[in-house]
């Protein structure tokens, strides 16, 4: 359990919680900015990003020209990492990360970084809208068609891979016994309905670099005959399959469960999930509305779920990077950020399988924990970072006569209204008290001690949760 600071208002705590879940955390200044417009208005703003070219897209392309024609996921990394680290509307990236993990396409097979980036952008554009629209878009995504072998699905010889994963992993799901609310016949019918949906052939990338992938529908290779799918009979094609899927309660429940798991807690709450499934059904499957219900719920605001989610490697790396705020323009180090998530077990644009990543405490083993602590501790000590400078200023402005408890609280507040368990807080206070020296403005040892406290905070078990 965590304890709220006696000096900090509930409003600040809630805003910080919202921004950790809907984004990658926020600096104390950002929290103050959002507080001026209020919680509900902030939720609305986060859920309604203006989609367009990132204002620094030209700079990204300039400094990382190989990522313009990204032939592999590795070449594409700098592009997405920059946006994860800097996009002013973090939910645009967070929702892309969510769908990237759910409708996983990986560079291990789809060796086409440009297409991977195009798919991430698809998730930005459609990830908060109607689920049916998203499913249709992903079903016409050439990378997905290639990833799940649909170019090998022909009339008279359907490949079931896409139809199966569409049902099992993308929409309706299966229970712990491996049973879904669909049958093998439904999988076969879906596969037939998607015959002729494929990626067009692109030239090989080995001598002129890659060419953009394109979706291709071949009506001559499409099975237009009658099919029975989830109890409905007709000459269904892929669009119909998606429509019928989205009419199912199992789909509403599956999407609600995955959203809850990603945005709320690692521990499922059946009552909350059923309620979110209702919201999904009542609002034509609009993800934005479901997320609004989540973020505005008493459950989300309760202590029950506060700091109950293990940070994913992306949460930790890009949250810390945003806090430190040392990148003015793209540079070599920013291009390497994705390497850090990979070292922690999350290779962006290259999930381990079509299942994506498992959320929760599976993220952390002893090796990953060391990577997490080393990265966060190293970054938070960068005094060249504008964010670190702002944090130092905040701590300095907290007063010259701080005792240990006040000093720890000043540091936690400056780092984005972080909360700690009583035990962790007590250990840090004891450590601060052991110095017996109050903050002395402009004294270098005060700066060193504050940086050290920042490092201790990001090294606590508490910092691994959001």
């Amino acid at each position: 359990m965590t304890t709220a600071s006696p000096q900090r208002s509930t409003d600040i705590e809630l805003m910080a919680q919202l921004l950790r879940r809907a984004g990658f955390g926020a600096t104390r200044d950002q929290i103050d900015g959002y507080l001026k417009q209020g919680y509900e208005a902030t939720v609305h703003e986060l859920l309604n990003p203006v989609h367009g070219e990132h204002e620094d897209q030209d700079l990204m392309d300039r400094y990382f020209v190989a990522s313009v024609e990204a032939r592999t996921a590795n070449h594409a990394d700098p592009q997405w990492a920059w946006r994860l680290a800097t996009n002013p509307n973090p939910l645009e990236e967070k929702i892309a990360l969510f769908w990237h993990g759910l409708m996983a396409v990986g560079g291990v097979k789809l060796d086409h970084g440009m297409e991977m980036l195009a798919e991430i952008d698809l998730f930005r554009r459609f990830g908060l809208g109607r689920f049916e629209d998203l499913l249709l878009e992903i079903s016409r995504n050439p990378g997905m068609m290639y990833w799940l072998d649909n170019q090998n699905s022909h009339i008279g010889a359907p490949n079931e891979n896409y139809g199966r994963e569409l049902l099992e992993l993308f929409s309706m799901g299966i229970d712990e016994q491996g049973e879904g609310a669909y049958s093998e016949d439904d999988v076969k019918a879906a596969a037939r309905a998607f015959t002729g949906w494929a990626s067009a052939v692109t030239p090989p990338p080995f001598f002129l670099g890659p060419f953009p992938m394109e979706f291709r529908f071949d009506s001559d290779d499409h099975d237009d005959s009658e099919k029975t799918f989830l109890g409905q009979t007709g000459n269904w094609d892929g669009d119909d399959i998606v429509r019928i899927i989205c009419e199912q309660r199992a789909t509403a429940r599956f999407v609600a469960m995955r959203l809850y798991d990603f945005f709320v807690s690692d521990t499922p709450n059946e009552k909350e999930i059923e309620g979110l499934a209702d919201v999904f059904e009542e609002n034509d499957g609009e993800i934005r509305t479901v997320l609004s219900a989540i973020f505005n719920s008493d459950h989300f605001k309760s202590a029950e779920v506060r700091y109950r989610k293990m940070k994913s490697p992306s949460d930790l790396v890009f949250g810390t990077t945003r806090l430190v705020d040392r990148f003015d323009v793209p540079e070599l180090d920013s291009g390497m950020l994705a390497n850090n998530t990979m070292f922690m077990g999350q290779h962006l644009l290259n999930p381990p399988s079509v299942e994506g990543w498992h959320e929760g405490e599976e993220w952390v083993d002893s090796g990953a924990l060391i990577e997490r602590i080393n990265f966060a501790s190293s970054e938070i000590s960068r005094v060249d970072g504008r964010g670190v400078q702002r944090m130092l200023t905040r701590v300095r402005n907290s007063g010259n006569e701080l005792d240990g408890a006040e000093f720890v609280e000043a540091c936690l507040d400056a780092m984005g209204a972080i909360e700690l368990s009583p035990r962790t807080r007590s250990i840090l206070v004891d450590h601060a008290d052991s110095y017996g020296i109050p903050w002395e403005a402009d004294a270098s040892d005060s700066i060193d001690r504050t940086i050290e406290m920042f490092q201790l905070i990001v090294s606590t078990p508490d910092y691994q949760y959001c």
Binding site: V65, E69, N74, F206, G209
Partner: protein, 324 residues
């Protein structure tokens, strides 16, 4: 897209992480003997940056300035320039310095460091050498051009941040013409600026857009010995040609054929040839993708670094009256 004053000549290059071929070529220069030096920017994380030397007949000679931070190595190299002694200058916008090599690729020295004081750099990008062998460096995040001696001593500078005359916004490529004037690809201002050798503003042309004479992040500018101005209109994927008063005369979109190296690759990889045939994107193959820099020679050849297609496209300039 018929050509008026140019004819397509040839293409050199193949995507390659090392040795023969290029990986994201973003600058190119001839030495005094006609060897072509191409700068591969690559992906820093893949560490395939290099300068490679080859003949116009596609004979690969050698490479140098490979990945690293030690003397003789580069990390995020951006531009090339030769002086009259065939010393090759290479700017590095990660290490914030200029490395100097001889024409055989032997490292001579490097100078420069991060900062905003005279002689310091914040992401040096475009390079040019004037008739006195002084080195002009587009110190782009300091929004200035610094004139340096060949051994890196500061001489002078001009420019500041902004969108007015004489101001720069992430400027990139620079060129010195036959009378010593300095031309600048003022990248984020989508324009070309011209200065005297002393840094006095002369003129500018261009604005944001896709019509003739408009630019979307021009990366390279080159003025040939007849005063014709070539602009790598980077995000418009084209090269625009102007007279030296800034009047648009022609636009090149790319006409590449398969280079000798590509043909050799396909010949021994028939499955790749079949794959290419099935895709059938032959028109798309011809076009520029992020053309970054231009070089010319006295034989009337115009070479364009086609960054995202890993090649150099070569045109011949047809006979035309000399520009005044």
């Amino acid at each position: 897209m018929s050509l008026q004053n140019f004819s397509y000549h040839d293409t050199i290059g193949i995507a390659s992480f090392l040795g023969r071929g290029f990986m994201n070529p973003i600058d190119l220069r001839f030495d005094s003997t006609g060897r072509l030096f191409v700068l591969s920017r690559s992906n820093a994380s893949n560490k395939n940056v290099r300068v490679s030397a080859q003949t116009l007949d596609s004979e690969f000679l050698y490479e140098f300035a490979n990945w690293g931070t030690d003397p003789g190595q580069t990390t995020m190299p951006t531009a090339l320039a030769f002086d009259s002694r065939d010393r090759l200058y290479v700017s590095d916008e990660h290490m914030n310095n200029i490395s100097v090599f001889d024409r055989e690729g032997n490292f001579i020295e490097r100078w420069g460091e991060f900062g905003s004081e005279p002689g310091q750099f914040n992401r040096p990008s475009g390079l040019a050498v004037d008739s006195d062998d002084n080195v002009l460096v587009m110190d782009h995040l300091n929004s200035r051009i610094q004139k340096m001696t060949p051994d890196g001593q500061y001489i002078s500078s001009f420019g500041s941040d902004g969108g007015g005359p004489g101001e720069f916004n992430f400027a990139w490529g620079i060129s010195v013409d036959s009378v010593g004037d300095i031309w600048v690809a003022d990248w984020r201002n989508d324009r070309i600026q011209r200065f005297t050798a002393d840094g006095e503003f002369v003129s500018m042309f261009g604005s944001s857009g896709t019509a003739d004479g408009r630019f979307d992040r021009p990366s390279g500018v080159h003025v040939d010995h007849r005063g014709q101005v070539y602009v790598a209109d980077w995000r418009n994927d084209r090269v625009q040609v102007f007279d030296n008063r800034g009047a648009h005369t022609e636009t090149l979109f790319g006409d590449a054929t398969l280079s000798k190296w590509c043909q050799e690759f396909i010949a021994v990889n028939p499955e790749q040839a079949g794959w290419r045939e099935n895709a059938g994107l032959f028109e798309e193959e011809k076009r520029f993708w992020r053309p970054s820099a231009i070089e010319t020679n006295s034989d009337g050849l115009v070479l364009i670094a086609d960054a995202c297609r890993h090649r150099v496209q070569i045109y011949s300039r047809l006979n035309e009256p000399a520009l005044t």
